[in-house]
Symmetry: C2
DNA sequence: GTTGAAAAGTAGCCTGA
DNA sequence: TCAGGCTACTTTTCAAC
């Protein structure tokens, strides 16, 4: 049983989000054709989903290699004492190479996902991260190949 | 020195991609105002970037929690012998909970990033992955908090 | 880059559950 | 009352030049 919170998405909202996930530039009329709603009705729902914060924005999906990002890695950070997440966030946010960063359970404190032009560039990023005052040591794992990469999507109907 | 391959992005393409990354539903006229190009000129460049495969598509950025994805984890897979990436990809692709998966260097073979409704759901996903014929064992790391999450963007000018 | 026709976005108004 | 359809007006797209 899913705890139906107030503000939960109805099935039509979910369908709209799936369409937008597949093509964020689809017209409201085209989306409406799929979900059986008029274009203005779709627009009103999308506007409301933006207001509610469910929709955070729209982006383009790019080929990282074409942008010059040839190398990808997970850099795990072991941090000193009790470094606050705010401190970690502020530090990691300054790196344009960082794609994602998360605090995690286990012996590692932070997992940082990084894209670099090449191994030399990656090495520099690792060294800079390792030199951050709150970082005790790092452990890096190079990505060999991306098997799957998907946007977040509403869960399939249960 | 960057090896200027034929087909490399020029600075205007990069600026256009940065605009689209920030708002994929921006009008060509608005993008043109930023990059000092007419709307049709921007459209032609975007069309060409799609043809070249630099632009793979457009998506919506959603709040995972609002979709019912409350739990996130890295599940590391240790695989038997020489399992082909194709096999791994096919297996992992069947899980709607999988957001990303990569083969990696080191003792682990695959890192799978997963979103689940809750811990119980996550546990089920781990068990199903562990039961895949090519998986010897798994190791899971729960995400406590997302510090940074960014779309791929052209590198800043060097 | 400019032009103009066709398509899409958008606000207001009306209707029915 | 609230969400959706309809209509009319504006903005954007997009192909030809």
């Amino acid at each position: 049983m899913t705890p139906t919170r107030p503000g939960d998405l109805d099935p039509i909202d979910e369908a709209i989000l799936r369409e937008l996930a597949a093509d964020a530039r689809a017209s409201y009329a085209d989306i409406g054709a799929v979900v059986a709603l008029s274009a203005p009705a779709v627009k009103r729902r999308v506007d409301r989903l933006r207001e509610r914060g469910v929709v955070r924005g729209f982006t383009v999906l790019l080929d990282p290699a074409a942008l010059g990002w040839e190398t990808e890695a997970f850099i795990e950070l072991f941090c000193h004492g009790s470094t606050s997440p705010a401190t970690m966030r502020a530090a990691v946010d300054r790196y344009p190479e960082v794609v994602a960063a998360s605090t995690v359970t286990g012996d590692v404190d932070v997992v940082v996902q990084v894209r670099a032009r090449d191994m030399r560039h990656l090495e520099q990023v690792v060294e800079r991260l390792a030199a951050e005052p709150f970082v005790a040591r790092t452990r890096s794992t190079i990505v060999l190949s991306a098997l799957v990469r998907r946007p977040d999507v509403p869960p399939p109907a249960p």
